[in-house]
């Protein structure tokens, strides 16, 4: 697969710029990438590990803008790629300072690391949101972590990254978190439950997954995504994207007001990609 990353936040687009690759390899072309957020970081690493699990190699074409490539490097994208990954392009000298209160580098999320990463993200939330809002922000992010570990399980696990934006350039302060797993995806997971075996496609599966009590298990569960959105009703504007298979769901939450949309996409992905942005008051 050839995946082209251009402009700002390219993986938030409904359809990705991708094409088949003749030799089956994965090429992530970030040459024209102008701005990457946690979603791009976690997805690049997740895609490369999924490719390796299928016996395919990965080539990452670095961004022509050295600050973008430097950011990928600072956020441990290069470090977390499979060792066999070919890096096509220059890597700037790495400068590293401890920014634990502002970011979480791309990290491998599995049952062993989940609680440590939850603690890192909890501290991040507590550093930028007040009182009960911090607890609600963590509870929302925590549901994503639990979903990735519980439902997105695969031999490759999942990858998580987070970044606090000060708003110095955009004027919009916010916390962004992305978790990309390489599991079976929402549609296949939901169909495991006979009650949802007839869900027709990924977009429908994503729309259903936000409804309380809809689960891929036959247990009395399935509230995680709805709880995630309910936790975000404390007032700050929040945007949530959930991409899985050939579906993309987008949700905006501001206080009690919520809009949900789900779309079919022409560019399916393996596993599930979750991206959450919460405005910092």
């Amino acid at each position: 697969m050839y995946l082209r990353l251009t402009g700002r936040h390219p993986l938030l687009s409904r359809n990705l710029q991708q094409a088949p690759c003749p030799d089956g390899e994965l090429i992530v072309d970030a040459h024209r990438l102008a701005f990457a957020g946690p979603l791009e970081l976690a997805a690049i690493v997740g895609l490369a590990h999924a490719a390796r699990a299928q016996g395919r190699g990965t080539t990452l074409v670095t961004a022509e803008d050295p600050s973008v490539t430097g950011y990928l490097q600072r956020m441990d994208v290069i470090r977390r790629l499979p060792a066999s990954t070919v890096i096509d392009g220059r890597l700037p000298a790495e400068r590293r300072t401890d920014l634990a209160s502002a970011l979480l580098e791309v990290s491998h999320l599995n049952t062993e690391t989940a609680e440590d990463l939850a603690t890192r993200l909890g501290r991040l939330a507590a550093a930028h949101f007040n009182g009960t809002a911090a607890g609600k922000v963590f509870a929302a992010i925590g549901e994503l972590i639990d979903n990735a570990v519980d439902h997105g399980a695969s031999s490759e696990g999942a990858f998580v990254a987070a970044q606090v934006y000060t708003g110095a350039t955009s004027g919009r302060r916010g916390l962004e978190v992305a978790i990309c797993d390489t599991g079976i995806g929402v549609l296949a997971h939901l169909r495991r439950n006979p009650a949802h075996a007839a869900v027709p496609d990924a977009a429908s599966a994503l729309a259903s997954a936000f409804q309380p009590g809809v689960s891929g298990t036959t247990e009395d569960r399935g509230n995680g995504l709805n709880d995630l959105l309910t936790r975000l009703e404390f007032g700050s504007l929040a945007r949530f994207h959930l991409r899985s298979g050939a579906g993309l769901a987008t949700v905006t939450v501001r206080g009690q007001w919520r809009t949900e949309r789900s779309h079919r996409t022409t560019t399916p992905v393996q596993g599930t990609w979750a991206w959450l942005r919460i405005r910092i008051p």
Binding site: E115, A118, G142, E143, V149, D150, G224
Partner: protein, 182 residues
């Protein structure tokens, strides 16, 4: 004085997210109740827990109280302490979904989480009475003894009050008294 065991959840982390970790913590709690000294009261202390997901609360407390009510855990009185506002909300939501209740000690005093008003009111009267018989609760609530017994049955199943068999001089048959744990 009842024998009391404290189970410190905060030692497991300040931010608790996953069902996996909740499962391990619940199994540890159930193991301690089963194999530990015959404690009559278990205090589940959330001091130091800054936040948790509803999924965590459900897998830990939702399933624990379900097992307690079903008699799969040795009957003990249970009191939740150290819950902050956000965690209280998470616990309340998971209890309401399972139609369970739990006694908690908050800054404002004892309260019954997840309960409908009639049961919460019964618990408030029980808190005032502290040690009482079913008839005394019925009188306090101005309800029938049968109704008071029904409510007490639910409170005992949730470990919110302790039930003890008592003997009363000059009277035969079974008689029970009720008391708040700790």
């Amino acid at each position: 004085m009842s024998k009391c065991m404290t189970f410190a959840v905060g030692q497991r982390g300040a931010f608790l997210a996953t069902r996996n970790s909740a499962r391990a913590i619940r199994e540890d709690l159930e193991e301690r109740i089963a194999s530990g000294p015959a404690s009559e009261v278990v205090v589940i202390d959330f001091g130091g827990v800054e936040a948790m997901t509803i999924s965590f609360a459900d897998e830990f407390l939702g399933r624990f109280y379900t097992a307690l009510a079903a008699g799969h855990v040795r009957p003990v009185a249970v009191l939740l302490t150290g819950l902050n506002e956000e965690n209280t909300e998470a616990v309340t939501i998971c209890l309401q979904r399972r139609e369970l209740v739990a006694a908690a000690l908050a800054d404002s005093g004892r309260k019954l989480l997840g309960a409908q008003e009639f049961l919460a009111e019964s618990y408030r009267h029980a808190v005032q009475l502290r040690n009482f018989k079913a008839g005394e609760l019925a009188a306090s609530l101005r309800i029938t003894p049968q109704n008071a017994n029904n409510r007490l049955k639910r409170l005992v199943k949730a470990g919110a009050v302790r039930k003890e068999r008592t003997t009363s001089p000059g009277r035969g048959g079974k008689e029970f008294s009720y008391a708040l744990p700790c």
